[in-house]
């Protein structure tokens, strides 16, 4: 990783951490810099401690990194929590009217802003944020103009007076910094590209729009609610019906109803809501009506820690719904992948007429990342699978069997409204023509044939999905294995290890079902020291991999404190494990930041 720059804003919920955060992200992305942002927050509307990190650089910034270059504490609590972690060469910009730095901070430039003196009697509560924002930009070597542009856009709705006031405040902060503080040695670079900045939840929602989703419904649940908000806000322009439903049971059933009538339907929730959806997952499989469900994982079990991240829902996804049936499960590896995976999942769910589950987590869904807008492809392939709609060549004279036994296991699906294709889709076991074989007509031979028909789809699914690919050189000393959202941080950890002379390669799993166990085993066969890295307590992926392949890695790195991995957590754990003379090869890194 080339040089990056990270700015962090800390404050109480309600103090306005988000707005300056958005402004930083926009400024960086418009400057042609990549951005990765993560907000550590709490389940509280006012108060507590929120800590937003925005990291930027010329190359793709894949995680929020290991250290802060510039800290903006908005209250005493924030500076108390973070000052001791600031390294030499960094800076802290703060309102000296209300904040006093306590404790040692060698080599850290303290930049006190006398806010009341600068504001000349203006009484806006968040003006300290604007002062700090403008002063910080001066330290980073940015011009004033781009900030003026963004502030104008931001406050235009509130009228010319508000714009002028804010510009005056910003200019005062900017000038004060020029006269009183030392700019950073390396001013932020600039490129000709312009990036979009979006959260994983927005990416998932936009991915749905690109996939042709026409019905979206949800029950609000952190950290998945952002998908609902984007969908609701853009529903009319996108031609999507968006409904808020009474509970997640209603959500999945409504989505399946819409899908059954012929539209692409999607819903998103978190672990607790998904638990309520389980029976619906089985219904989708049994009726062979495709539906796509997004589970944004948060720290569990039960209500757990609603605003903290975890990769703890894998086994719930593997086991959701009783009985045996084909399903699809994939975990996007970054925010752009959140966008790309959704149409891919819809195509597969439609083709194989089964439930598709997307396993995101708080880190991806509520994190932000810069994306080249050309990557947001809305003319991606749409494959609705074998579907019979009104107006198709008339086959009404032939007998239509909705669940016709085929070699592929896929039976052409007529949607309601097509003449001559009436049938009942049933959650009870049924014959080819949809007639129940669960009561009067129970028949072991037919039951077996229907079970095998559905399960034959598994082979097709396996060949429709690409197996994972090893990143880095084969034969490296260390192989790091992760799944889903940890891709970015593991990549960066591997880069650091390689730079430090510990050759490391990396295998990231995106498709969990199908897993491609044999392909994974071929890759891992040549690994010398393998470590499975995951954001949960029990090693859910490690256990799954073992159950599918009998593979046991040499070590584990796990974190289940609610916060995501930082690169040094992995780097340090790898080094410890390589140096270890004991059999304890299970690292649980400590999260040093108090959030």
């Amino acid at each position: 990783m080339d040089r990056t720059f990270a700015v962090a804003i800390g404050g109480a919920a309600g103090q306005g951490v988000a707005t300056p955060g958005d402004i930083f992200a926009k400024l960086f992305a418009r400057r042609g810099l990549h951005v990765n942002a993560y907000n550590a927050y709490q389940s509280i509307i006012r108060g507590g401690h929120t800590f937003l990190t925005i990291r930027t650089g010329i190359e793709n910034v894949r995680c929020f990194g290991d250290h802060i270059d510039l800290l903006i504490p908005l209250n005493q609590d924030s500076i108390d929590r973070h000052l001791n972690l600031m390294k030499a060469g960094s800076a802290v910009v703060y309102n000296s009217d209300i904040i006093k730095p306590i404790g040692p901070c060698e080599g850290v430039q303290l930049c006190p802003l006398p806010v009341s003196q600068l504001s000349k009697g203006s009484r806006s509560k968040v003006e300290q944020n604007t002062f700090a924002l403008a002063a910080s930009l001066k330290l980073m070597g940015l011009d004033f103009e781009p900030l003026a542009e963004i502030l104008t856009e931001q406050f235009m709705r509130k009228g010319g007076k508000v714009v002028t006031d804010n510009l005056d405040i910003a200019r005062a902060g900017y000038e004060y910094a020029a006269e009183n503080f030392q700019p950073f040695v390396h001013p932020l670079p600039k490129t000709d590209t312009q990036y979009a900045v979006l959260s994983g939840n927005i990416a998932l929602a936009m991915g749905g729009a690109a996939a042709g989703v026409k019905f979206y419904c949800a029950y609000p649940m952190s950290p998945s609610t952002g998908v609902l908000h984007w969908m609701a806000g853009h529903a009319r322009e996108a031609g999507i019906i968006v409904r808020q439903v009474e509970d997640e049971i209603g959500v999945i059933n409504m989505a399946i109803g819409a899908a059954h009538a012929g539209v692409r339907a999607m819903c998103a929730t978190s672990g607790g809501g998904f638990a309520l959806m389980s029976e619906g997952i089985g219904m989708s499989a049994m009726m062979e009506t495709p539906v796509v469900v997004i589970d944004v994982q948060r720290a569990g079990p039960s209500t757990g820690v609603p605003t903290k991240t975890e990769q703890g829902d894998l086994w719930q996804m593997l086991g959701a719904g009783f009985g045996d049936f084909p399903r699809l499960i994939a975990a996007p590896t970054d925010i752009l992948d959140c966008f790309k995976l959704v149409p891919e999942m819809h195509n597969l769910a439609d083709r194989f007429q089964c439930p598709g589950i997307i396993l995101s987590d708080l880190l991806l869904s509520e994190g932000r990342s810069s994306i080249d807008p050309r990557e947001l492809n809305f003319v991606t392939e749409i494959d609705r699978g074998e579907m019979i709609v009104a107006g198709d060549p008339n086959t009404a004279d032939q007998i239509y069997n909705r669940y016709q036994i085929t070699e592929s296991g896929i039976s052409p699906r007529a949607i309601p409204g097509v003449p001559g294709h009436m049938h009942t889709a049933s959650t009870d076991e049924h014959d080819e023509n949809g007639v129940l074989i669960s009561d009067e007509f129970t028949n072991p031979l037919k039951r077996r044939a229907m079970m095998e028909k559905r399960q034959r789809k598994v082979a097709g699914i396996e060949s429709a999905v690409q197996p994972p690919v090893l990143l880095g050189e084969t034969g490296a000393t260390v192989t790091l294995i992760g799944w889903g959202s940890t891709d970015g941080v593991i990549r960066e950890a591997a880069e650091i290890l390689n730079q430090e002379g510990i050759s490391t390669n990396h295998l990231q799993i995106r498709w969990l079902v199908p897993l491609h166990g044999e392909a994974i085993m071929r890759v891992l066969k040549s690994s010398k020291y393998s470590i499975i890295v995951e954001n949960n307590y029990s090693g859910q992926f490690a256990r799954y991999l073992r159950s599918e392949t009998s593979y046991v890695p040499n070590g584990y790195i796990r974190k289940y404190d609610g916060e995501p991995f930082m690169p040094h957590h992995i780097v340090d754990a790898v080094k410890e494990q390589l140096a270890s003379k004991t059999h304890t090869r299970h690292s649980v890194p400590m999260h040093e930041i108090r959030v």
């Binding site: 936009m206 042709g212 409904r243 409504m254 399946i256």
Partner: protein, 298 residues
């Protein structure tokens, strides 16, 4: 000169399902099924334009016995599924069928919310005041004191009042039928299908096997048609509420309430317009709209 082709008249037999019902001989549900088949034929609604949706239970097997599109969904979830179907293709006639346990017990939450949303569908609850398919346990409409396998010393709970519940939850068409009054039931069904909004018909549909309290004879002695009372005005919600509380020697059946001034969910939903059913819309979003979505992020 143009020739007007008369749409082919449908017969009840056109709605005969792939298999015959496997209900007990004498089950009230036969009367409901046959009234439904008759009314669809009389109204000349094409079988492929109807989706009959149920949950789980004896009466919920109905979609398998009628020749329309059918969905035999999860226990209690039919109304949620039906809402999705109606949103995706509002041109379809959606009919939901099920029992008292399915609709008022496990599905109670969806029952309330589907009514307040005024989803345009006909919901026929075959109310036998017992759980039949699980061989005779207390249901949400079982009378207080009734002895069942699950409450052998008698039900200690008050039963739910589906009519009063529907009225307070905002249903725009609320009626009660009796499966042994087929013509009356058929007429209610016809009005329910014609009603643009949520139409609820609670139908007394006696269970001859497990409920020996609420028998055909028991109902016959008690039911009184609201239609016979010329002074009754079904547009008066308060009058409907008052009648809904009547239970005992006299039990009203008929149309309790109807209002037509509220839009149904598909009428209120801005996305549904002259472009036709969502299921037949273009999948792609226009490029100028996409450009706007992306520019918001820049």
């Amino acid at each position: 000169m143009t020739t007007v082709v008369e749409p082919q008249k449908l017969a009840t037999t056109d709605f005969k399902g792939k298999v015959d019902p496997d209900w007990c001989v004498g089950c009230g549900d036969f009367g409901v099924l046959s009234a439904l088949q008759k009314v669809l034929a009389e109204m000349n609604i094409q079988p492929h334009d109807v989706v009959t949706i149920s949950g789980i239970g004896c009466s919920s097997n109905l979609p398998g016995f009628i020749n329309t599109y059918g969905m035999h969904t999860l226990h209690g979830r039919a109304l949620a599924v039906a809402t999705g179907v109606k949103m995706a293709n509002h041109k379809l006639h959606v009919i939901v069928t099920g029992g008292d346990g399915d609709g008022f017990g496990i599905g109670g939450n969806h029952f309330i919310h589907t009514m307040r949303r005024n989803v345009d569908l006909l919901y026929v609850a075959m109310d036998n005041q017992i759980y039949g398919l699980t061989t005779g346990q207390t249901s949400p409409t079982s009378r207080k004191g009734m002895k069942t396998k699950s409450m052998p010393y008698g039900n200690v709970e008050e039963p739910i009042n589906p009519i009063a519940l529907a009225l307070t939850a905002g249903a725009t068409f609320v009626a009660r039928g009796f499966s042994a009054e087929p013509r009356h039931l058929l007429d209610l069904m016809k009005q329910g299908i014609q009603h643009k909004g949520f139409a609820f018909i609670d139908v007394f549909s006696p269970c001859v096997t497990y409920n020996h309290d609420n028998t055909y004879a028991w109902f016959r002695q008690r039911v009184r048609k609201l239609e016979d009372d010329k002074s009754y005005d079904p547009s008066d919600w308060h009058a409907a509420m008052k009648r809904s509380l009547l239970w005992g020697d006299e039990i009203p059946i008929g149309k309790f309430f109807q209002r037509t001034d509220l839009p149904s969910l598909d009428q209120a939903e801005q996305i549904i317009d002259e472009r036709g059913p969502l299921a037949y819309r273009e999948n792609r979003i226009a490029s100028h709209v996409v450009e706007k979505f992306v520019s918001e992020l820049m």
